[in-house]
Symmetry: C2
Subunit: 182 residues, 2 copies
Amino acid sequence: MNDHLKETTIRTKSIFKGKIIDLEVQDVQLPNGEESKREIIHHPGAVAVISFTNEGKLILVKQYRKALEKAIAEIPAGKLESGEDPLECAKRELEEETGVKAKNWSKLHSFYTSPGFANEIVYVYLAEDLHTGNVNMDEDEFVERVDVTLEEANQMILSEEIHDAKTIYAIQYWQLNQRQGM
Amino acid sequence: MNDHLKETTIRTKSIFKGKIIDLEVQDVQLPNGEESKREIIHHPGAVAVISFTNEGKLILVKQYRKALEKAIAEIPAGKLESGEDPLECAKRELEEETGVKAKNWSKLHSFYTSPGFANEIVYVYLAEDLHTGNVNMDEDEFVERVDVTLEEANQMILSEEIHDAKTIYAIQYWQLNQRQGM
């Protein structure tokens, strides 16, 4: 769709190849024939998991985010390893960060986080029928599990302890679906 | 909060300073005393606007996103100019991209889009009491306005014409608030 909006690559310059992100600058031709530059981050993609305890609390993990210079509470998440299936990644991350395994998994949404400059995509799963795994908790992840009620979650949005798009999305998802007995 | 999770900067190396993003690599000290590296994108921050036509349709704009190599439909959005107030930026972007002005503005949420590697924050506003401005439409923005019903919006999520976090958040917000007469 929308070929009249398309920007065409003229040339690409690689600036940086890192452990997590790569940066390139592209010269592009705009729809009106003029040229412009695009700064683009390549990212392997990520997963995020919405899961609830038997008491109906949402499982979050607190983690220091160096880019923000603060700790925030987020739904469990992590980036894809090379070639990794998103669902397998979601199962791995949930267990590494929370010690929990789930029997039932369903994909809810995928979304790009910052389409203006990055190709990072997040695959969001709902994990149900939880049981304690705890075998594969990652010792090197400095994360702290916290289980919250919907009221607590909304309070944490106000206090900005919850402060990222995927977790606010998850809490809205919770609000939308709690009438169906979640 | 959570000082025991904190990562401390040991040194910072600037890799790239661009028009929109800067990239730096930090050596950090982890809570257990070990060292690690963090790849961090600095971004000026952005705004996004949820607004509805008199017919109750959500106003979206289609735009080619070079990082994704496809056009997607998003709520109107744009990045902050240096020192710009987010609300003023939201008013400017809504008019530049859609030709619409609004009398009533309220801030809904702010959220970080990619806390794992970027400090981009998005301030989301609800714009109400719209009227056609059309004076300041930006000729250099290759965007195409499209107004959608909730049913159309949900269909576009399935077809991935809507495929970014802030717009899926906006559609959830719409679903959560339509019972209050939105």
